[in-house]
Amino acid sequence: MTTAVITGIGVAAPNGAGTENFWAATLRGESGIGPIRRFDTRGYPARLGGEIDDFDPAEHLPRRLLPQTDRMTQLALTASAWALADSGVAPGTYDPGETGVAMAGAFGGFEYGQRELENLWCSGPERVSVYMSFAWFYAVNTGQLSIRHVLRGPAGVVVGDQAGGLDAVAQARRNIRKGARLMLSGGFDSSFCPYGWVARISDGTLSTDEDPRTAYLPFDLRARGQVPGEGGAVLVVEEAAAARRRGTRIYGEIAGYAATFDAAARYGGERGLGRAVEAALADAGVTAREVGVVFADGSGRPADDRAEAETIAAVFGPQGVPVTVPKTMTGRMSSGGAPVDLAGALLAMRDGLIPPTVNVRTVAPGARLDLVTGVPRPWQPGPALVLARGRGGFNSAMVLRPGTAAPNRTGAASVTGREAPTRSGGKRHEADDTVGPGGDHA
């Protein structure tokens, strides 16, 4: 079957905007979690988050795009340009119709939406920005990336909280198998505003600890909840033969994937993560013994951690595989979390270093995990398993296989050779029609 490989990475995370900034900070064990400064958190029970500080959208995007984009879209647009430049894909390589976008979103543009809803109720409907019509929407990143980079083939969005980030990349692989040659894929979330914060608090999963070093401790004896982060990653997914023809460096292959749901409580509540792991390994044709590292979901809630630790121990044996949660340095980025983990796994393969889980000291009794803590661990790169779970019982698992180093890089502009429009000239309406939710999300 057609193979989908990853040839470009763009990361914007709380501990680093820009792939190499993120990766260097991650290997140093530097966390981006701290007291939230974007809005006044006094009075909220949870006050820590992973904010991206060193990102000014005006430095990266045409000013015309600023009034019409939420922060999560500004991050996605910027990271997508980084990913394309990293892939070195030259103008004119592909026809626009054989290139597309598959992104994940969990919140949408809540910060934008809150501002416009405030305008509506405080000043009246005529004060609501016309761009509100799409800026808040889950699918907006797919549309904006498609317009900006002139990717006119398949376009889709999936919504599955943290798991959606893997589901979107799996969607990109399906698009490649159906004939697309290049897809941008990943996920971004932000929504660091009262509206987004209250929504997060309402599900009772946030840590109320006020110490950034102890608030989010997946698998630790002291685990007491999670800390949200903002950001995500975009990957350039290409058809393998086409990528090899142009002689680019291949970070890795999307070798296997599966998604399952937990059973509802009234049907026994059986968790589905184990089935997702087994099915993803089978899809990849990789045995548990061959897997070299697991990037765990790392919920930070004791019951979820226990279930994940049991699943990993059941599949790989007690202490059977190195496990890591670099999200301890970023917080949980909703749909952006798993794409950043995919990027981390690919960079771990490139450099032969597994990034650490920070702050965790005492793995909870019963969690028979070989957790990589404190400092990076050298490894002989092999297949990596990335896990992600979303609120509501989503489980997704993806297996990546190391690629091949092949320099011969060229600078990149528009992938398709057409100048990306800095203005949309009425195309916006078309875009609204083409980025509806769905795709063939399995």
């Binding site: 045409p62 000013r63 015309r64 019409q68 009425g426």
Partner: protein, 84 residues
């Protein structure tokens, strides 16, 4: 009586749609089409709402659609302002 100038319209449209240093100013290109100056139909819709608020001129979508350049839109608004 209050009249609209090209630079006033440009200021409104920058506020609505963001300024773009790569295109000509309205003073330099009063008869260039909005599309060529980088303004799409949504930018014009947003501009229509600000003109209503700040000039008390309630342009119909049809009238707005007929004004294809900055000069045409300024003339249209000023005809309204003179008439009422």
């Amino acid at each position: 009586m209050k009249q609209m100038t090209l630079s006033a319209l440009e200021e409104i449209m920058h506020r609505c749609a963001g300024d773009d240093e790569s295109t000509d100013s309205f003073q330099q290109a009063p008869e260039r089409a909005f599309a060529d100056l980088g303004y799409d139909s949504l930018a014009l819709l947003e501009t229509q709402s600000v003109i209503r608020r700040e000039y008390g001129v309630d342009l119909s979508e049809q009238a707005l659609g007929a004004a294809e350049t900055p000069q045409q839109l300024v003339d249209l608004v000023n005809r309204w302002l003179s008439a009422v």
